[in-house]
């Protein structure tokens, strides 16, 4: 009897790894983050979220090219590099979304005529766009914090998916994301929990949008708590 239960649990663990079945309630998959792991950039962070992982490096505030100089604020650049092949249109569009989010929180006016460069490298991609975007946002935020770039707030990315029957799933696996009717990715700030960026795909009603947003806000608390705890650990003496 005892043994049987043991094997059962083992099988559960095995099947659970590939496509983790979720309960009816929503949950976020495991997070892991390591900061300051690269020696050359001013700030760096690697962020793992489920099967997706992104490495971010930040240079700045540093010298800026004359052609890109902005006289009253810092020039923010975001470069996203795919794992296989050369960057394409999808990467450019994500770069833009991330840049706009960062520009909203980075206090660029404190460093006029400088450049802040965020380089993101996809390390492992479970094959879903929305999750990758959320992970990129989290990695970028942690790297900016590591680099000591002044920001008015922290930000995080949260993904929601709506199934064909209208159930809401937070942080969907790539399989669920493919089956979903709509996938929404939000970037939220930690001070007022307001929306910084949203990227949506598929059909949904306004009520569903508000539901997703409220769920994302609830999930963002967990992400921000994770940020806080990891930074506390980092700056602790022990």
């Amino acid at each position: 009897m005892e043994e049987e239960r043991h094997t059962e649990a083992k099988i559960g663990a095995e099947t659970g790894r590939g496509s983790s079945p979720r309960g009816p309630g929503c949950s976020l998959r495991h997070f892991a983050c390591e900061q300051n792991l690269l020696s050359r950039p001013d700030g760096s962070a690697s962020f793992l979220q489920g099967d997706t992982s992104v490495l971010a490096g930040v240079y700045g505030p540093a010298e800026v090219k004359v052609s890109k100089e902005i006289f009253n604020k810092a020039t923010l650049e975001v470069i996203l590099r795919p794992k296989i092949g050369l960057p394409g249109v999808a990467e450019k569009s994500r770069e833009r979304l991330i840049r706009n989010t960062c520009e909203a929180v980075v206090l660029g006016t404190l460093h006029p005529r400088t450049s802040i460069t965020v380089v993101l490298q996809v390390v492992s991609d479970a094959g879903s766009g929305a999750q990758l975007l959320a992970c990129c946002l989290n990695a970028a935020c942690m790297a900016l914090v590591d680099a000591g770039v002044p920001m008015r707030a922290l930000f995080c990315g949260v993904t929601c998916a709506l199934d064909s029957d209208g159930t809401l799933v937070l942080d969907p696996t790539s399989k669920r994301e493919k089956e979903a009717r709509a996938v929404l990715t939000f970037a939220l700030d930690n001070v007022e929990r307001k929306l910084l960026m949203s990227s949506t795909k598929g059909l949904f009603s306004d009520a569903e949008l508000q539901q997703c947003l409220a769920a994302a806000q609830a999930a963002s608390q967990h992400v921000f708590r994770f940020y806080r705890e990891s930074l506390q650990r980092r700056y602790s003496k022990s």
Binding site: G25, C26, G57, A214
Partner: protein, 440 residues
Amino acid sequence: MKETPLSNCERRFLLRAIEEKKRLDGRQTYDYRNIRISFGTDYGCCIVELGKTRVLGQVSCELVAPKLNRATEGILFFNLELSQMAAPAFEPGRQSDLLVKLNRLLERCLRNSKCIDTESLCVVAGEKVWQIRVDLHLLNHDGNIIDAASVAAIVALCHFRRPDVSVQGDEVTLYTPEERDPVPLSIHHMPICVSFAFFQQGTYLLVDPNEREERVMDGLLVIAMNKHREICTIQSSGGIMLLKDQVLRCSKIAGVKVAEITELIQKALENDQKVRKEGGKFGFAESIANQRITAFKMEKASIDTSDVEEKAEEIIAEAEPPSEVVSKPVLWTPGTAQIGEGVENSWGDLEDSEKEDDDEGGSDEAIILDSIKMDTGIEVSDIGSQDAPIILSDSEEEEMIILEPDKNPKKIRTQTISVKQEKAPNKKPVKRRKKKRAAN
């Protein structure tokens, strides 16, 4: 961003230290930095750390048509990328000399040494072969990119599994990983590059130079070798003259280093395979050292979303409903219909200016025209005759009226043209005047 130059005193300090057989990181002359290999969750993905130098390798495959002159051989493709993350001086999307040199060396080390059996990658001769693509991304540059990249490439290739295919008559079946276990590539041997830096015209030698040492070195010798002590490629750069004995000594050292590294690679591969077989946790998440204070993990967290619906309802209830706009479709002429009221056209002036451009054949002239208008205005006021400015302003006002969106666009066109015709004779003398002024 430009690279920070190395100051003369730093340079002298480094060279003096090397003369005294000392290295800045405390290594001995022949010491290699620590190598750490970690694997990702998917096959063919690895990160290799050589000291602080870090390279990410990823292998992918694709079925393609073979090259015409090699109908039965698969295609191997290497691509090393120097990301800006690695060092600020690397610019994205630019093929620098260094990058070309490294890519070429990597190709010679891995493709030309025939370490991978390309014939086993053939599916249907002359029609379909596997193309194996090795992407290498430099994540952090702390010297000796080529050694780290060659290790990453061979580790990723050894770790990679391609989907199984079967050929029955004319039918080719590609199996998913669930149907049949993916198959590894057949690898004959593992060539690994070892770099030697030379200083003071070859008097001093260092194994595995770091970034600072690379900056002050005179020459570099790269030897690619496998564990059977067969040299796969050898390259000397920097323009130093090496003696036969020096090259032989280097090849002996390379043999020792390659044996050590190969053993390490095999151990890492075995370890990963064992973990995968046992169904344990693998991937980069497991390779993050948990005891480091810069790293932090959080297990799966459930989130209470029970009040989400209420919240959403609240927000929607509070929000003002969008103003009801009932639009009736209007049929203007057969084939042209309009839905909604539309807003007043604010594009009128732009369209007109475009027309002007078209008429005059260039925007430059339009700008000139503007400046002329201003010029004439100033001049006229300078002269002080009171009649002239009134006429000018009249003509301008006429233009202003035209610019506003009018009810019948046809009329506008005729008006603009007429205005232009009126203006045309005026313009030329003015222009000449301006040129004269410029000459003065």
